[in-house]
Symmetry: C2
Subunit: 282 residues, 2 copies
């Protein structure tokens, strides 16, 4: 790459850091790339850090020493988080989503890749201080959000399936009871898609009684893996008995009346978690 | 936002543009945000444009006039594309992936969100001049790549399913013949997850005879939608008869010997397509 002035370096470094979250980048990477002194690179990073932090884009951690460098941790400002949670609630409140049987049509939200990225960033902002090695979800509708979280945390995504496919080698299966329908179902994960002992964040699009999430927890146990957290886009507040205690949710359906076509939605607990995090830090 | 100097503006604008691909941003958005003259903003954009284009990050199109602004179109440089295709081939060549029955284990690649993003960017670079309104894929393993393409093109993703789920309202189903196994199967797409008349890019992780892709084409026909293109991560060069002619592929399996545990992989046709595109432009 040809020698760049500060203005050019700032654009290129911003791009590079955003593309490499949670990765330790040695300063020599930048100083060699731009043929610039490390002191100039350090000054560039001060400018980037200031904007990233004031705009809630993320944190820039500098690790000193010979094996040091800089690390970008994606984050989200409080205002942006509130707006996002508000947008999720507003989208969910459209009565048009109510399907026969009281189900909710959500593919318009789940099919919006950029929107899912934002929700993924919100989760990863809350999780940025936790040790997480992998994200797990169950096919099909949890996948978009799981990938958005995996990308921002820079960890792999494992997909649990409800069917048996021969094309993934040795599989681990468990039976679980769906909390709402009380039926016994099977879920399966390819043996080699998750390392034993991993700290895993569980993601799903919707949680009612929590049977599916509970099933994933049992499956993780079979892999000697630890549950590092649980996050769902939407939880139903109408569940009589919940099989899962500690989880993050972006929105909560308080009431759904199929006959009158009304939905009452309120923010989930993500914002509260975010505030607790902030207090812990200060 | 407080008034920013050029250096701060460049970092913030770079971030904003990367987050809003294919969206027309009026210059007033930036001039109001930073309390700066439009002339300064224009100068900032010249700097960003130069770096984005020289580094193969993407193009910055400026639309003049009162309703004008700036638009970021993600792209990929030729060198980066070659490296990426090489990396896909190299990963695929590991003999360890061969499963009983001659299947290939690919979840390690498909589970890497950032890697999928890069492949998605490669596809969207080739597609950036086409009119595409939606991306479609079939559950489960095509989903990560489909979302990566959808995100870079800023269009919604629709997920075709092989099972019948009652939770998505009115569905359109078709029967199709799997090209390899010759069995009749069903695929289903929620009526409201795709607008009639859309120009749709079809994505899948793997294509052998092309039966699944052919099925999606038939399904699109039921939606009065047009096939704007087809892209697969891996194609099998061993298919006797292919049901699909025109498609993009990142890598091609030329030979797979289950007994000797050898895989021969070569680059697919994406790079050729990229070159043709470049010639058309010059």
């Amino acid at each position: 790459m040809k020698k760049l002035k500060r203005s050019g370096r700032l654009v290129d470094m911003t791009y590079f850091l955003l593309q490499h979250p949670h990765e330790l980048i040695p300063l020599t990477h930048f100083s060699e790339r731009y043929q610039s002194a490390k002191s100039s690179i350090s000054e560039d990073l001060v400018i980037i850090k200031e904007i990233f932090e004031s705009e809630g884009i993320g944190m820039l951690l500098t690790v000193p020493g010979a094996s040091g460098g800089v690390k970008f941790i994606p984050s989200m400002g409080e205002d942006e988080a509130r707006q996002l949670v508000g947008a999720v609630c507003e989208k969910l409140s459209i009565s048009d989503r109510i399907l026969p049987g009281g189900y909710l049509y959500m593919m318009d939200m789940l099919g919006d890749a950029r929107f899912m990225q934002e929700v993924g960033r919100l989760f990863s902002a809350i999780l940025s201080h936790k040790k997480i090695d992998a994200v797990i979800t169950v096919a099909t509708k949890g996948i978009p959000l799981a990938y958005a979280v995996g990308q921002h945390l820079d960890v792999p995504v494992s997909i649990v399936r409800r069917d048996h496919r021969v094309t993934e080698g040795s599989m681990v299966s468990i039976n679980y009871v769906s909390g709402s329908s009380k039926r016994i179902q099977t879920m399966t994960l390819a043996r080699r898609s998750l390392s034993p002992g991993s700290n895993v964040f569980i993601v799903d699009d919707f949680m009612k009684a929590g049977g599916t999430v509970r099933g994933m927890m049992d499956l993780l146990h079979e892999f000697q893996a630890e549950v590092a957290g649980i996050g769902v886009l939407v939880e139903s507040g109408e569940a009589e008995e919940r099989l899962v205690d500690d989880y993050l949710s972006v929105a909560r359906i308080c009431q759904l009346n199929e006959r009158e076509k009304t939905i009452l939605v309120e923010p989930g607990n993500v914002l509260e978690y975010m505030m607790t995090l902030k207090e812990d830090q200060s």
